[in-house]
């Protein structure tokens, strides 16, 4: 009866425990392929791991299936293209059947299922799997990083390619395990920009030139609030809600929430309390919450005040703002009335990282695919198609990619941005982003933090009380030392 409802959580719980048990069983058998991730590289050379060349790897000829786990159809669709290119390059069909398992992250099932599959091993275990920014740390540096293969062990010449392709540093930081080995990289760059309205910029400052506007809204939050005051004088809101600001604050801080097992409130994150209060008290925003109707409405001037800008990476433009602008061509709704400039602080938001299982029987094939997705900067590499919107044929969505080299030779002009080349802004944006402040607890702790910030900014409690309650919530729910 009513407990059926509660089953949802039941199941989640038992699932993760399952990981434990099967993992236990597995330890009992001898693992023939690679008892330890690091062994092939280490046995072949000196301790200076970073400079070792990639070892030769070979595939088990008996394996015919490549298992791919993902939470959207993005990567599976890439592999369709890969098969085409493979055929063009070699004249042969891709020798593996690709078995895709897609589980959405929205219902909280992807991680437990993936954990189980990784721990369970066997022929159904994923060879390649994807992780999203919200939880990638668990797989690259946290509790589940033991399952990841070092790219180098897949025969990828990591050091050379990372430099050559100019991969944004923050994606490398996130993808590097505690032992210094690179285990995951993305294809998309999610460095953030400030995306603002040209018409409003002209009205307030007489120009919509990104070079000028970036000096109006930044660098630093003081200038940003100065700009907010200018905008307020003309009846505009600088952003839609404090959540917009949060993404920039969160990923520009120097420390993550947890340092050495202790809760740390980075001064930059603590300052968010004051920013949020200031925004609210002065009416600098429309007081919306991100991902709600009112927030989307602000993208086409349907909210209380017209909103000047949003903080976000290219995907926010492509998948959220363009569709919600109330038009499909310049002149309709707010479409075409936008531009991007450097944000007051560098940050990134979201992204997908691609990892391989250390126990894969076909490391060579897996390595080639991963290299093609994450590190190939040629015109037949995935990222070139991705940046130019040609993966599924011409005229697709252009997106920012991990490789700066690829973006430099691609065309990032968007009609949505009034013909601006977004790569001019997003290439440096990726360089400013910092990947060292993530923890595997972020989703939870951010939730508590923003909850308390809104308690404070709405005047329900004092600043000190909000911080105290935040600490208490963290202490109550996580295995973290709170002082």
């Amino acid at each position: 009866m009513k407990r059926i409802l509660a089953l949802v959580l039941t199941l989640a719980m038992l699932f993760t425990l399952a990981v434990g048990f099967t993992g236990c069983g597995k330890e009992a058998d001898p693992t023939p392929v690679a008892p330890d991730t690091s062994s092939p590289a280490e046995t072949s050379s000196a301790p200076a791991d970073t400079s070792t060349p990639a070892p030769e790897v070979t595939d088990d000829p008996d394996v015919k299936v490549l298992n791919l786990w993902s939470f959207t159809d993005e990567v599976p669709k890439m592999l369709d293209k890969y098969k085409e290119i493979y055929k063009e390059r070699t004249g042969n069909d891709f020798p593996y059947e690709i078995k895709t398992t897609i589980i959405a992250t929205t219902d909280g099932a992807y991680q437990p299922a993936l954990d189980q599959a990784l721990a369970g091993g066997g022929s159904d275990a994923p060879d390649i799997y994807c992780a999203e920014a919200a939880f990638v740390l668990k797989y690259t540096q946290g509790d589940a990083s033991q399952y990841a293969a070092a790219y180098k062990d897949l025969g990828i010449d990591v050091d050379k390619l990372v430099a050559e392709s100019e991969i944004a540093q923050y994606t490398v930081e996130i993808g590097t395990r505690g032992d210094g080995k690179l285990v995951g990289l993305g294809y998309q760059a999610t460095g953030g920009a400030f995306i603002y309205r040209r018409s409003i910029a002209k009205d307030v400052w007489g120009t919509d030139d990104p070079a000028v506007i970036k000096d109006k809204v930044g660098p630093g939050w003081d200038k940003f609030f100065q700009a907010a005051e200018d905008l307020k004088a003309k009846g505009y809101a600088i952003i839609s809600g404090d959540g917009d600001l949060w993404h920039a604050v969160e990923n520009s801080s120097d420390q993550g929430w947890i340092v050495d097992g202790k809760l740390v409130i980075d001064p930059k994150r603590e300052a968010f309390l004051d920013y949020s209060k200031k925004l609210k008290d002065n009416g600098y925003h429309n007081d919306t919450t991100d991902w709600t109707d009112a927030w989307y409405a602000d993208m086409k001037d349907a909210g209380g005040k017209k909103v000047f800008g949003f903080f976000g990476p290219a995907w926010l433009i492509n998948y959220v703002m363009a569709g919600n602008s109330g038009g499909e061509a310049p002149g309709e709704g707010t479409y075409g009335d936008w531009a991007v400039c450097e944000p007051p602080v560098g940050f990134f938001w979201g992204g997908t990282w691609v990892l391989a299982n250390k126990d894969t029987k076909i490391p060579k094939a897996v390595g080639e695919i991963i290299e093609w997705i994450t590190l190939d900067n040629s015109e037949t590499g995935l990222q070139y198609y991705w940046a130019n919107g040609t993966l599924y044929g011409p005229g697709g969505t252009k997106d920012t990619v991990a490789s700066g080299a690829v973006m430099k030779k691609s065309d990032g002009t968007l009609p949505f941005l009034g013909g601006q080349n977004m790569f001019d802004v997003f290439v440096p944006a990726g360089e400013f982003a910092n990947g060292k402040n993530l923890t595997q607890y972020d989703e939870t702790i951010n939730g508590y933090w923003r909850n308390q910030v809104s308690e404070y900014s709405n005047g329900n409690k004092s600043r000190d009380q909000a911080i105290a309650d935040f600490k208490q919530q963290v202490a109550d729910n996580l295995d973290v030392i709170v002082e």
């Binding site: 009866m1 009513k2 407990r3 409802l5 509660a6 949802v8 959580l9 989640a12 719980m13 038992l14 993760t16 425990l17 990981v19 434990g20 048990f21 993992g23 236990c24 330890e27 219902d107 909280g108 954990d115 721990a119 668990k138 946290g142 509790d143 589940a144 033991q146 429309n286 007081d287 919306t288 919450t289 709600t292 109707d293 009112a294 409405a297 909210g303 209380g304 595997q440 607890y441 989703e443 939870t444 702790i445 939730g447 909850n451 308390q452 809104s454 308690e455 709405n458 329900n460 309650d469 208490q472 919530q473 109550d476 729910n477 996580l478 295995d479 973290v480």
Partner: protein, 325 residues
Amino acid sequence: MKGKRLKSVSYAKYGYIFSIPFVLAFLIFTAYPIFYTAIIGFTDLKGLGKTDFTILENPFHNFQLILKNPSFQRSLQNTAIMWTINFIPQILLALLLTAWFTNQRQKLRGQGAFKVLFYMPNIITAATIAILFSTLFGYPMGPVNDLFKMLGLANEPINFLLDKWTARGIIAFIQFWMWYGQTMIVLIAGVLGINPALFEAAEIDGATSRQVFFYITLPSLRTIMLFTLVTSLIGGMQMFDIPKLFLNGGPDNATLTVSVFIYNQAFSGSYLYNRAAAASMLLFIIIAILSGILFYLLRDKDAIKAKKEMKKLRKAQAAARRAEA
């Protein structure tokens, strides 16, 4: 009505035989996981992918931690509050509707359709309902805010979901709205199980609808009422998906229920399985005590009296026999 008792001797074995499937299925699919959890509560098992655990030196350490945990205490209060403001109106409305729909004298037209419709909110998945209600109470724009403005109740948009009591009230309302139909159906099924001869007799004696309901329907429903109360209590104490999906326990822990708390212990980052298991066992104990109270309050007093008298009689007989000897 119960008639004479069966000759119990010859048929007792069927009681065992017919219970076998239940017991087997329980042992295979449920027993092991339960014992597993019960044990974990006394161990140090935490962290993803951990397999080995040892019983703690102080086996009740996790239980003590949970009992002292302010969020747990809060979640107990919240659960009790939200259950009460959902369940009392729910059972009253369900009883009222049951009275209406089983009233032989005044049949409502279309009551079949109503019975079907009232259960419908239970068919939609909780996730859909959560989205629906967050949109309804959207801020700074949303249907309810529009309505308030239209009626002149507020000049500025109100951020309803930031107010603790409003948030609790909405969740209680959602629970009420999702479950009153089911409660009603259960009660109606109970009424259908009442011997029609009773109603016929009342009819002949000239009882009013009200009298029939209070003096015949309600007392006969006692066993089903006990079922409704106990399952609602258990379901309410385990309230999870609406509080989780709608506001994720917020604002400021105001809608954090015990089940959401347990979920957070296990899955919000630290994988504290041991503490989650301990909290589950505590929840079990609380439910068991409360259910025990309900059973006691709604016990069948006549049956117990009869049993006692039987016992006395037997004792007396035995005494008499002894005296004879």
